[in-house]
């Protein structure tokens, strides 16, 4: 029983950064912009988030640092891909290369330092319920926030006028522009939101997942978040399912390594990456009747006047 509870808790913790980063990227892509720099924004968010928390002793300020760092990184992307109409794939790659270097530079000062990780909720009585108590009422604030965020984004995209306009920009920027909507400005906001989420997701790793910073600690989670957006068919509901499935794969392989089944640990470590490839293939294959991706995704838009 305790083991099952521990596994569920670990899965939630491993899924949360994926869910937050993928939520941000979902909004960015729904506006028609493909930002491949999630990994770079996450790792800078991790370095700045840890730095903020270590300097001030506050997890909340650390998280804010992560958000600001991710947003600033995404602004560089927006300037290039939207302002200068540069190829979005190449710009996103550049952002990741830059982010990996920057995070090493920023984080060099506090490698080896430790902080007190984010506190977990505790409601006497409720949290003590066996099996489900800690899962439902004993998480850290990030877990609850990530779920509130995705519900909020679902509501925004499908129940508000602003969300409809954002989706219109992603599906047909020429029409949206013709109707008088400021396509590039809307996309800039969407990119910034994606950056803030990626920064927060990165900050989650040293603030709550492991209480220290190591260079390269995102370990491809930004790329998995990108794959999750494809997996979700750009729909928030499916994104939650996908994020928790991938979190489960990550944790199960860790546990399997612990049980010492006769499989090389490297093969188990490769599972989340292999799973991503297989899932991408299966989903893309199932979708032969036409893509569900935003129609203008990744295309350059220069308004004519």
């Amino acid at each position: 029983m305790e083991l099952i509870e521990a596994i569920i808790l670990a899965v939630l913790a491993a899924s949360t950064p994926l869910l937050i980063a993928a939520t941000g990227e979902l909004v960015t892509e729904r506006s028609g912009v493909l930002n491949l720099g999630v990994e770079g924004m996450m790792i800078v968010g991790a370095a700045c988030g840890f730095g903020g928390a270590w300097l001030t002793g506050s997890i909340f300020i650390g998280a804010l640092f992560g958000i600001v760092a991710g947003t600033l990184m995404s602004l560089v992307f927006a300037l290039m891909a939207l302002g200068l109409a540069v190829n979005q794939v190449a710009t996103g790659l550049a952002l990741t290369i830059l982010g990996v270097g920057l995070s090493g530079l920023i984080g060099a000062g506090f490698v080896g330092e430790r902080i007190t990780p984010a506190a977990h909720l505790y409601i006497p009585g409720l949290t003590d319920i066996p099996l489900i108590g800690r899962v439902l009422f004993g998480e850290d604030a990030f877990v609850y926030f990530s779920l509130a965020l995705i519900v909020g984004i679902w509501w925004f995209l499908y129940r508000t006028r602003a969300g409809l306009i954002l989706r219109a920009c992603g599906d047909n920027h020429v029409s949206a522009h013709a109707l008088g909507y400021p396509v590039l400005r809307i996309r800039t906001f969407a990119v910034m939101f994606g950056g803030g989420c990626a920064g927060l997701a990165g900050a989650y790793l040293p603030l709550a997942y492991t209480p220290f910073f190591i260079p390269g600690m995102t370990a491809g989670r930004g790329w998995i978040a990108l794959a999750l957006v494809v997996f979700s068919s750009w729909r928030p509901g499916r994104l939650v399912v996908g994020a928790y499935l991938f979190g489960a794969v990550t944790i199960l392989q860790l546990h399997a390594q612990g049980w010492g089944v006769g499989i090389p640990s490297q093969l188990m470590s490769a599972l989340p990456y292999l799973a991503t490839v297989i899932v991408l293939v299966l989903l893309s294959r199932a979708r032969t009747g036409g893509s569900t991706a935003p129609a203008a995704l990744g295309t350059v838009f220069v308004p004519d006047r």
């Binding site: 491949l36 560089v76 290039m80 302002g83 200068l84 109409a85 540069v86 190829n87 794939v89 190449a90 710009t91 790659l93 550049a94 952002l95 290369i97 830059l98 982010g99 990996v100 270097g101 920057l102 090493g104 530079l105 060099a108 260079p215 370990a219 491809g220 790329w223 990108l226 794959a227 494809v230 090389p264 490297q266 093969l267 470590s269 490769a270 990456y273 292999l274 991503t276 490839v277 991408l280 293939v281 299966l282 989903l283 893309s284 294959r285 979708r287 032969t288 893509s291 220069v302 308004p303 004519d304 006047r305």
Partner: protein
Amino acid sequence: MQLVLEKRAERSNTIALVSPLIAIGLTIITMTILFAILGKNPLLALHAYFIAPLTDSYSLQEIAVKATPLVMIAIGLSLCYLANAWNIGAEGQFLIGAVAGSWIAVKTQGTDAGSWVLPAMLVLAAAGGALYALIPAICKVKFGASEILTSLMLVYVADLLLDYLVRGPWRDPHGFNFPTTAEFDPVATVPLLIEGGRLHLGSIIALLVVAAAAILLGRTIKGFEIRVVGAAPRAARFGGFNSNQLVILTFAVSGALAGLAGIIEVAGPVGHLQPGISPGYGFTAIIVAFLGRLNPLGILIAGLFLALTFIGGEQAQIAMKIPLDVTKVFQGILLFYVLACDSLILYRFKLVFPNRQVASGTH
């Protein structure tokens, strides 16, 4: 008043020529500021990065050694990018090439195998890299899965495979438990060009690859097809060019070149298989490809330049304690400036005055 982007009627050839130089200039200005922030003397740092490595024979040879994998990988990537196929997993193909070629070296170790060993290693490495690159290419063509994500995921898988081999079945029994194979036999080693120097046969192979790519792109129908499919997909469809076939072809070629670069690095400068054989060659090669404007000769120059930053970075770390991550930041910033300057080949900035536009009623 507002600054907006406007499409040029024709691409500007002047800017096409000078844009990499402007990008390098802007990068150096940015780095000067960064060095100042880090509290290092910018002039001394720039000297350590860009001048010092050019002043002694050892460093010059080392630049050529570092440029070899960068140029070979970047040539392959440029074919992909020209055809609008986004292979960003060259790092993985590099590692798989190293593993595939090392297999022969490990299996023939200590036997009296003859001079066929090295050629066989090169062939197997190229085949291994090509097959590994074909996974994302086929997933893309057959199932429509994003080649960007699949090729990148396979980098992590390749890294773990190499790690497993050198910690498990291939580990040197006399290696004090270090995760490495034994040193390769002389027949499994890339020969040096100058006795006692660093320069090896791989650099000649890289030059041949550059020449072959220049001929392919400039003088053959296939090269023309690759350029048309990337630049004008609609026209290519009307022309009857098969873009799927080109995705497969360019991925296979770039995988083969990355794999070849991998085994040359392992059987040359490194001498054995171990984790960490690449300081991110596969990713830096993306920058090389763009800085070289996806042109073979340009890539050769860009490869030498980025190799200079690797060597300069190492020297700056030793001489001035500048962290190695500065090199990565430098490379990232350089790619940004290259892309930004390239944008000005197709577009130009224009100041518009919204009020006057409304008044004249035109657009």
